[in-house]
Each structure stands twice: as C-alpha cells, then as structure tokens.
C-alpha cells in the first residue's frame, strides 16, 4: 500500500483515497486530424513503461478530487515526491524529461 502526499490537501493519505491517472506529461500531437496513423497510435496506446523512475498522474479521488504528479520508482515503489501539475512540470523539465 502506497502512502501519497497530496500537494493540494498538504497531507499524506492512503493509496485507497487515490486513483491512478497513468503516465504524466505525455504530449498530444498538435494536429490529430493530420497526424499519421503511427503517430496517433503511439499517442493513444504506447507508454514508456520504465523499470525505475516514472512520472505519474494521480487523482485524489475521495479528497480534493484534483490531479497531481508523483515521481515513483516502479521497481522499488519508492517515491521521490508529489507536486501540483505546474510545479511538477518545472521539476520534470529541469531533470530533462523522463529519466
């Protein structure tokens, strides 16, 4: 069971309060109408699925109902931190994206 820190509620809460939102900071093709099938299929179906550090979206489903980002190690389940989407983006960019 994970214990996640919600950056909006400013409290650590049990995993059961949260919903998993998948990989964070994925980039949607700028113009889906003209994107070729491979690009669009990549966006829809393909995930990085790393063994190691992963940036994830979580929603605090039973609390503030807001999304935030968590950097979690998929191999060890250790957590580097949680941020609001805008704060998390800065940290993510500073690290040079997903590593």
């Amino acid at each position: 069971m994970l214990v996640l820190f919600c950056p909006h509620c400013q409290e650590k809460r049990e995993e059961e309060e949260f919903g998993y939102g998948g990989e964070a900071f994925r980039i949607r093709p700028a113009s889906p109408d003209t994107a070729d099938d491979d690009t669009w299929a990549d966006y829809l179906f393909m995930r990085t699925n790393p063994k190691g550090w992963n940036w994830e979206l979580w929603s605090h489903a039973t609390g503030c109902r807001k999304f935030f980002v968590v950097k979690r190690n998929t191999a060890t389940n250790s957590i580097a931190g949680s941020w609001t989407l805008s704060d998390g983006r800065k940290v993510y960019d500073a690290e040079g994206g997903s590593q």
Binding site: H8, C9, Q10, E11, R13, E14, E16, E17, H60, A61, T62, G63, C64, R65, K66
Partner: protein
C-alpha cells in the same frame, strides 16, 4: 396535484421515531441531521477579490488553508479543494445565503450552486465512535484535529468528515447516504448502536441525557 414533500435521504430508516437521549448502554450514538442547506462555492482562493467578497458576504473568513473549516452562528464553510468550498446552513436560510453570495460575486470568476438536495449529514459520538470510523475509513481519525475537515473513503464510498463536539460529523452525498448508513449500522453492531435525539436549534448536536 401532489403536494411537494421534502424527504431526507435516510427517511426510510425512520430514525426520528427511534431516537432516545444518549446514555451509557450503547457504545455508539448516531443520527442524521436532515434537511440542511448546502451551497457549493467555486472560485480561486488566490484571487484576493474573490476571498474578500465571500468573507464579507458570509461574515466569516473563507478558509483557504487546506483541510480546514470555519463556522459562524448560522453557517459552516468546509474547504473541499483549493477552488471549492461547501457551505452548510439551515435549509430555510440557504436561499438568501446563496443569493447574497451571487450578488456579492458579480463580475468575479466564481460559481455558487445550491446543492441542498445533494447532501446530508450524520453525527456520530459515544465511547466507540472512533472504533467505528476505524472500521469504515482509511483515515487515521484519532489524529484528526478539531477545525480540520478531510475527504476520505467510507467503505467503497466517500465522506467529508470533521470533529463535532465530542464526536464526529460525516457529510455525505445523498445517493450514498443509504449505503453509508447501513455500513455504519453494521460496523457499530459490536458496540451497540443507539439512535440519538438531534437538537435542531442553533448548532446541531446529539442530546446527552
């Protein structure tokens, strides 16, 4: 034409008829606070104009710290998220409260919605009230400080909960009230559940004998 009748979500359980004054024979005492008024307020807590206008209209500082609530004589303001609050008041006062808020927030990016039909509250107290909450939610209610309100799980549903006097107050959605009450009755069975008399004047509370 049928007469319009407003019924509480827990009407079917006939709680008012079973209510007795609190005594030592039961470990948990509970009852519903039916037919209160609820207003959902949305707006940006970082917008000073918004916070000032709401504070002025309600007569109580809008709680902007996470997981806190504020109360006046007539209304209680629960922090739900950084841009959402739930205002609880007597049902007959909620219309004017919402109208005043809407008037005060003219031209400010915000939303005031009367959600009175959408929620209800259950008060819980007694020597085993904490035990019951620990059976039903994942939050550590022993560590919950007075003045704080948390949204957490309740069985497979969710509630907003805060301390109320010596007990706890659970704010729940109408559609889950039936499930939550049945869950509560089941969880409280080992300790003995009593249906308490609800004081409806002023600050609602369960009456001690």
């Amino acid at each position: 034409m049928l007469e319009h009748v407003s019924r509480s979500p827990l009407h079917a359980f006939g709680l008012p008829l079973q209510a007795t004054a609190i005594n030592d024979t039961r470990g948990v005492w509970a009852n519903e606070l039916p037919s209160l008024g609820y207003v959902s307020l949305r707006g940006d807590s970082k917008d000073r104009t918004f916070v000032e206008k709401v504070t002025h209209s309600l007569g109580v500082a809008l709680p902007t710290s996470p997981c806190t609530y504020a109360g006046t004589d007539g209304a209680k303001v629960l922090w739900i998220s950084p841009d959402e609050w739930l205002i609880v008041s007597q049902r007959d006062r909620i219309g004017s409260l919402a109208a005043d808020l809407k008037a005060a927030l003219q031209g400010v990016r915000s939303q005031v919605a009367d959600n009175s039909g959408g929620y209800t509250q259950v008060l819980l107290r007694g020597r085993n009230a904490l035990d019951v909450l620990q059976h039903t939610t994942v939050y550590d209610f022993a560590a919950l400080e007075p003045g704080r309100v948390v949204g957490t799980t309740f069985g497979k549903s969710s509630v907003y909960a805060h301390r109320s006097g010596e007990g706890f107050c659970l704010v729940m959605r109408r559609s889950f009230a039936d499930y939550i009450w049945r869950y509560l009755v089941r969880a409280a069975a080992p300790y003995g559940l009593g249906i308490a008399v609800v004081e409806t004047t002023g600050h609602a509370a369960l009456v001690v004998a």
